[in-house]
Amino acid sequence: MATTDVNVADATPKSRKLPPEVNIFFVLIGIAVLFEVLGWIFQGQSFLGNFARLKIMILQVSVLGIISVGVTQIIITGGIDLSSGSLVAAVSMVSMSFAQTSEYGLDRVLYPALVDLPVIIPIIVGLVVGACAGFINGWLIAYTKIPPFIATLGMMVAARGFAKWYTQGKPISFPTDSFARIGEGMNPVIIFCIVAVIFHIAMKYTRYGKFTYALGANETAARVSGINVERQKVKIYVIAGTLSALAAIVVCSRGQTAQPGMGLMYELDAIAMAVIGGTSLAGGRGSIIGTAIGMVILGVILSGFTFLRLDAYYQEMMKGAIIVGAVIIDTYRQKKKV
């Protein structure tokens, strides 16, 4: 009888839906297999069998992945972050200027008084710059109620301008050995994994995560439930800014140089990874695992194109199509209720 129905699932119901991450994972497998087949057909060799290529692929995307972990959280609240690419440039410049060595002569150094500092200094300075930029984004969005698109667009332009102004457009190089080691070898992948695990746990098991989803699902209800909506938003944008800064430190350390033009379009790649990984632009849905898979999918596609010797311009056009395709799928998922 109906009144005792707690947790009922009677009479041969249709099978339960799988978590969305499983579907995305199958997409990844499908794409990988497709490139494998195309590889044998057109290049006469294996795509997946080449370990070196896969390593390069994962290295390329994991820096973007670090950014995307933050961007995913923002998109889950129903927001967007366009500033992460420019932040990479701004933070790289600042961080690198505190990481220079005197080994090649002081005339090559931006701040001759600040050379050979312990590695922790440029790291902290960089992260603080990122956190501040995130705080400004979050504060504007939470308290002045301007749309995230506009706030982060402003930050995108301003941060890029800041990066150029910092040295009047000149690159900064010659980091200390210890700073250069941050991005060495497989470190970017390891850093990504640590970041992803931390935020996977945060999103799933802490109230920070629960509130983030609540914000995206229904902001009014979140407020009425006692969530401090403004403070939560600021927290999320600060975290995203800090993660962009972390990515910046990894990139400029690996390249041993910082230039104002760095990180161009990173914001779009980070958004693409999140969306491909099942994060809904409408807010309330998405996961860090999904984004991690989305990251690998993007990596496989890009490295697959290169492997098939597809023209670089062609690749960009395809990438555009893939991003739009992912959003179409997301929209379709939203509409399809039955």
Partner: protein, 509 residues
């Protein structure tokens, strides 16, 4: 009438049933929502569809209106098999529906909402706003609704929004009109108005499907009734052949006796005192005391400012002047979070707008308010196993019908969503509990269960402020009744002196 496109089928049609549903089955992952049900609607009659929360009423209506497609079975309209794929198909064939939840565009005005997709155009092919306003005014005049066609929907109360939904559905001039709990958020005055409209439509030959959990309405307006239980068809009877207990027995398979199990509780200290609370034109100079163990009913007409006062106390929309005193100390409350830290809880009226996280799962929905204040360790981790124990307890007590706690709340029936929100607030262990239409959309059995729970809370010393548009609920549950009239306190009534007439006298001017 106003829109000539539909409304022809019933003139040509001579058969016995305008709408016939046969052997319809619908499954969702984890639930069989409808199992081989039938329904027959005569033209020019009001057919009530009854059943407990989650019985499948809304699901069948959504199938008829083209929102879901059935797994099997047949729907015939005016004798012909219907193949409706979208809600627009349904409207074009002459089936209109008022949904259980509001579906208005908050940022648009009333007229735009009514005529959406059917806007009158001028010679240039552009929308003729003046004409649209006139049409809306005509429609409202005809239906006896007083609402400004140019008002922004966002500024209206839930009840006013409901009246827009009703007039919009009527304006389609359809042959079959489905009303899914149209009265769950309106007061007696609007109900009377709605019934006038329904009788008019019935006289014009429209077949009306009417879903409600309010028994009195059933016998006032329905000609026939069909009962579903757990997705199955139980039976159809003329409403003159059955009484209230008979219907309940058909619905739940047992008899439910005491409706409002109010027991007198010991009334203690003043827990909440409000002095001279005002906010703009919405309400002025509202003062009252609420004691521990007391249930203060808050009655009044739509627009009298009841919900607004509650929102002000809880900090959703803070008052502009006045004092809120909790346990004898003045409190500043400008945010719900502050109100909660003073031990307040507030079940809002509009579950879709300010209640549910529709796309999140049941567990998240129930625990959200609780974890803002407790049940998390110092690293911010939710103590999930402790929370789950509490949650499961309430799911059982309130008989929330869901395949699992992981189910998305959007997939729950309206009444079960409401129960879930009640659970959310009861979990927070409040000292002062503010309930705005607590049993909105809840079936008879569950309703008396919730009343029992509320009374039990009062017995434990919780102070309860209960807004309700349902007169029997207010009269049955309250120790005292505060009646509001046009944004002011109209007066107070003690339980002993309160009856329908005395409340209405204070509510109307």
């Amino acid at each position: 009438m106003l829109d000539g496109s539909a409304g022809s089928a019933r003139d040509r049609f001579t058969g016995e049933f305008i709408l016939e549903v046969d052997n319809v089955r619908k499954e969702f992952p984890g639930v069989v929502a409808l199992d081989d049900v039938q329904l027959r609607i005569r033209p020019g009659s009001v057919h009530a569809l009854m059943g407990e929360n989650g019985a499948g009423k809304s699901t069948l209506m959504k199938i008829i209106a083209g929102i879901y497609s059935p797994d099997s079975g047949e729907v015939r309209f005016a004798g012909e098999k219907l193949s409706i794929k979208t809600p627009i198909d349904a409207l074009n064939s002459g089936i209109a529906m008022i949904h259980q939840e509001l579906n208005l565009m908050n940022t648009m005005n009333v007229a735009e909402n009514v005529w959406i997709r059917r806007e009158p155009k001028n010679a240039m092919g552009l929308i003729d706003h003046a004409q649209m306003r006139r049409q809306t005014q005509e429609l409202f005049d005809e239906l006896g609704i007083s609402l400004d066609p140019t008002a922004l929907v966002d500024d209206l109360t839930v009840a006013q929004k409901q009246m827009i939904e009703i007039s919009k559905a009527v304006s389609y001039n359809s042959d079959v009109l489905i009303m899914d709990e149209p009265t769950s958020a309106i007061t007696e005055k609007e109900v009377a108005q709605l019934f006038r409209i329904i009788r008019d439509l019935r006289a014009k030959g429209v077949g009306i499907v009417y879903i409600t959990h309010k028994m009195d309405e059933l016998f006032e307006i329905a000609d026939e009734l069909t009962v579903f239980r757990d997705g199955q068809y139980v039976g159809t009877v003329p409403s003159s052949d059955i009484d209230r207990d008979g219907v309940i027995k058909m619905m739940v398979g047992r008899e439910i006796t005491d409706m409002f199990p109010k027991v007198d509780c010991e009334i203690g200290e003043v827990a909440l005192e409000v002095k001279g609370l005002s906010r703009g034109k919405e309400f002025q100079d509202v003062s009252f005391e609420l004691r521990r163990g007391e249930i203060l009913g808050l009655a009044g007409l739509v627009g009298s400012g009841r919900s607004e006062v509650a929102e002000a106390i809880f900090g959703v929309k803070p008052a502009t002047s006045g004092e809120i005193i909790i346990d004898g100390t003045p409190a500043t409350i400008t945010e719900p979070a502050q109100a909660m830290s003073h031990g307040l809880a507030f079940l809002t009226e509009d579950r879709k707008e300010s209640g549910c996280f529709l796309i999140l799962d049941c567990l998240s929905n129930i625990q959200m308010a609780l974890i803002t204040r407790e049940m998390t360790n110092k690293f911010g981790f939710v103590e999930q196993s402790r929370v789950n124990e509490l949650v499961n307890d309430y799911v059982e007590k309130l008989r929330i019908k869901t395949p699992s706690l992981g189910e998305i709340v959007e997939n729950l029936s309206g009444g079960n969503q409401q129960k879930l929100l009640i659970a959310r607030w009861l979990l927070t262990n409040p000292k002062v509990l503010i309930l705005d239409e607590p049993t909105r959309g809840i079936d008879v059995g569950a309703k008396s269960e919730i009343h029992r729970l509320i009374t039990a809370l009062a017995g434990q010393g919780v102070a309860i402020l209960m807004i309700s548009s349902e007169m029997p609920e207010v009269l049955g549950m309250s120790d005292r009744i505060m009646v509001m009239r046009e944004g002011r306190v109209g007066g107070f009534l003690d339980r002993a002196d309160a009856d329908q007439v005395s409340v209405m006298q204070l509510a109307a001017n």
